[in-house]
């Protein structure tokens, strides 16, 4: 009797899962353009995904077709992990036979996807991967965001001119190409402007206890802390830093541009400033206004950096497909990389060797909200 019950329950569960899987699997018809999406649905940067995926869906509602064909988005989770990102890209290319790929979001994951798309000759556009190495010597990688040498320079200028800092400490996430690269470019420019790096410490993505690193920064007594990491680590670091009596302003990169930063960081992230690619207040283009309205109508909040850049990656891709007049991946790629003066959500975008040339904005956390500070042109 017991055995029978067990078997029945097992059978029911298996059936439910099987049906669920069958329903969720998309059987794409031949008259669609398949676009693979590799985002981090789970893992340490999962909050990016939420905004980015929402932005992508709003963008798809605004422009649902290219060449008169329906666009099909096929989402695969990379768990914020490099190995999973490579698996996801392989799956999209060889199982789903996609024509182009949007994502991954973070530099390290794009890096591990790069050799695969280069070999398969499928265009990949990352909304937010800012590390300069991603596109260097590559033919099929493009991005909707600016690159870190520019972001690091902007941060250094802001630190010296507006925060009047002469000494700085660096907190680097040694597991992230993004963080290592951005810290390097900040350091170069900060030194050029007469600043001095008085301390350097390293963390790892997913770590939550930073007390040791904080205690080691303290004796150096820097005027500011530059922490080009992702929101989760920044929020936890800021909380612990304030508890341990470190009162210096914290400056970050676009990895901080996520509402979860404030949710987890609370009062500790008040006053935190960061360089990023987009602020709702800085929208000037018609497409940007349309996107903002549609996003707000759907999610009842303002789009953030990840939503906007994710939408831009999509718009740029659709625009490229239309210009290529073909859904051949190689032709799409050629058109995409020739994008010029595209009026996207985040401004006027021109791609040079796959890198977007566009202004950066500085945002600040004030009373639990992101507030626009200023725009800095390239």
């Amino acid at each position: 009797m017991k055995r029978l019950l067990f078997k029945t329950v097992l059978f029911a569960l298996v059936t439910i899962f099987a049906i669920g899987y069958g329903v969720s699997k998309t059987y794409a018809a031949s008259n669609t353009i398949k676009v693979g999406v590799v985002y981090s649905m789970t893992g340490p940067v999962a909050s990016f995904e939420q905004s980015a995926w929402q932005g992508l869906q709003v963008a798809k509602e605004i422009m649902p077709t290219a060449l008169g064909k329906k666009i099909d988005l096929i989402l695969v989770d990379d768990q914020g992990d490099k190995v999973q990102a490579a698996n996801a890209v392989n799956k999209l290319i060889y199982d789903n036979k996609v024509d182009a790929i949007i994502g991954p979001l973070i530099s390290g994951n794009v890096m591990s996807a790069t050799p695969i798309v280069e070999k398969a000759k499928i265009p990949l556009i990352t909304p937010t991967g800012t590390n300069p190495l991603l596109t260097e010597g590559k033919n099929f990688i493009s991005r909707a965001c600016f690159i870190d040498p520019f972001q690091g320079k902007v941060a250094a200028i802001y630190a010296v001119k507006d925060l009047h800092a002469k000494t700085a400490a660096l907190v680097i996430d040694s597991a992230q190409d993004y963080s290592v690269g951005l810290a390097k470019f900040f350091e170069e420019n900060f030194k050029k402007l007469g600043g001095k790096i008085v301390a350097k410490t390293f963390i790892q993505t997913g770590e939550s206890n930073f007390s040791a690193q904080i205690a080691s920064l303290k004796p150096a007594n820097p005027q500011i802390i530059y922490m080009p990491c992702y929101y989760q680590e920044i929020a936890l670091f800021a909380r612990q830093a304030r508890e341990f009596g470190l009162k210096q302003p914290i400056l970050a990169g676009d990895g901080a541009a996520e509402a979860a930063l404030i949710k987890v960081g609370g009062a500790a992230v008040n006053g935190l400033t960061f360089t990023t690619g987009f602020a709702p207040e800085a929208i000037k283009t018609a497409l940007g206004k349309k996107f903002e309205q549609a996003y707000q109508a759907k999610y009842h909040k303002l789009p953030d950096n990840f939503a906007a850049l994710s939408a831009d990656a999509y718009f740029m891709l659709v625009n490229a497909i239309d210009r290529a007049k073909s859904d051949n991946p190689i032709k799409i790629n050629t058109a995409l990389r020739q994008t010029k003066n595209f009026q996207g959500v985040t401004g006027n975008i021109t791609l040079v060797n796959g890198n977007a040339i566009k202004p950066a904005v500085i945002e600040k956390v004030e009373n639990g909200k992101f507030v626009y500070v200023t725009t800095i042109n390239p």
Binding site: T42, P44, S47, T201, A212, V264, G266
Partner: protein, 297 residues
């Protein structure tokens, strides 16, 4: 320099007692079933999530929510044992080990499906707020509570083990499960109790962990779980006091490596596993480990 070192030691003590709480669960289960319960870290995550929902969804006062979560997590541990481990208790050790890994994946993915992968901000109970400050020395309140709670629970556990009938039964099972059952002791109940205690301690660890680092996600248990496993082996797996000491050593060693080699700070986690490898190479029975396969608890 002295304050920095002192500060680091306190940080290490606080991190170490968290590892200790979780390591005790590993060691107890190993003691009675001779298996490494790799799902133990995920039990910690379950504890943290239950406490989170008690406060945020059911609006319970924090202490009610914590106690409920700790007890419920204990039952989750018992349930896991009943469903996954009991049916194969007499199978080979490898089957048990693989089942434990399976349970670990199951719990992680169950919580991912139910609550999504986006980290949630853990609400912090008012008494855990605040920092004490003695000239340049900063003590977040929670880092004072953690070692105290760990010490009290460890004392209670050792008392149960050495001064109660159930404790005696546990030690007896650890020595020889078949003979124990021949003596008329209900082995199933005692094993359930072991899982209940171990899982409750993991829940305490999870709650304290989330209070100190207030961001929870379904994969949060993996790292603390692995570290606690390393701590348990370091102390001599199967030995409760050893697990606690192993946890403390691991926590303090981790913090000191950052203090003295700042450029290695990013490899803090790797260091724990390096320590694990060294222990397995040179003293496989661990610090407190007596003769292998003889002493338990």
């Amino acid at each position: 320099m002295l304050t920095t070192v002192l500060q680091q030691l306190i940080n290490g003590l606080s991190a170490g007692s968290l590892y200790a709480l979780v390591a005790i669960g590993y060691t107890m289960v190993y003691g009675v079933l001779r298996m490494i319960n790799f799902a133990h870290g995920d039990i910690l995550m379950v504890g943290a999530y239950l406490a989170f929902f008690g406060i945020s969804a059911f609006m319970l006062p924090w202490w009610v929510s914590f106690i409920t979560a700790i007890i419920l997590t204990g039952f989750v541990g018992v349930l896991v044992e009943k469903l996954a481990y009991k049916p194969i208790r007499n199978a080979s050790r490898v089957s048990l080990l693989i089942t434990a890994v399976g349970v670990s994946f199951f719990l992680e993915n169950l919580f991912l499906v139910l609550f999504g992968g986006v980290p949630k901000a853990f609400p912090i109970a008012p008494i855990f707020h605040g920092v004490l400050n003695y000239n340049q020395l900063y003590l977040p309140v929670v880092s004072i509570y953690t070692p105290i709670v760990a010490l009290v629970l460890l004392y209670m556990l050792l008392y149960i083990l050495h001064h109660t009938k159930y404790g005696m039964a546990m030690r007896s099972i650890a020595l020889d499960i078949d003979t124990t059952s021949l003596m008329g002791i209900n082995v199933d109940i005692v094993i359930s109790l072991v899982f209940f205690i171990g899982s409750s301690l993991a829940a305490v660890g999870g709650i304290l962990w989330s209070t100190q680092y207030p961001s929870i996600n379904p994969l949060m248990g993996i790292m603390p779980g692995l570290k606690a496993f390393a701590a348990a082996v370091l102390g001599g797996i199967g030995d409760v006091a050893g697990a606690a000491i192993g946890g403390l050593i691991l926590g303090i060693a981790e913090v000191l490596i950052v203090a003295f080699f700042p450029s290695l700070a990013g490899y803090k986690d790797a260091f724990a596993f390096l320590l694990l490898i060294l222990v397995l190479l040179f003293k496989p029975t661990g610090i407190m480990g007596k003769e292998l396969e003889r002493k338990r608890f």
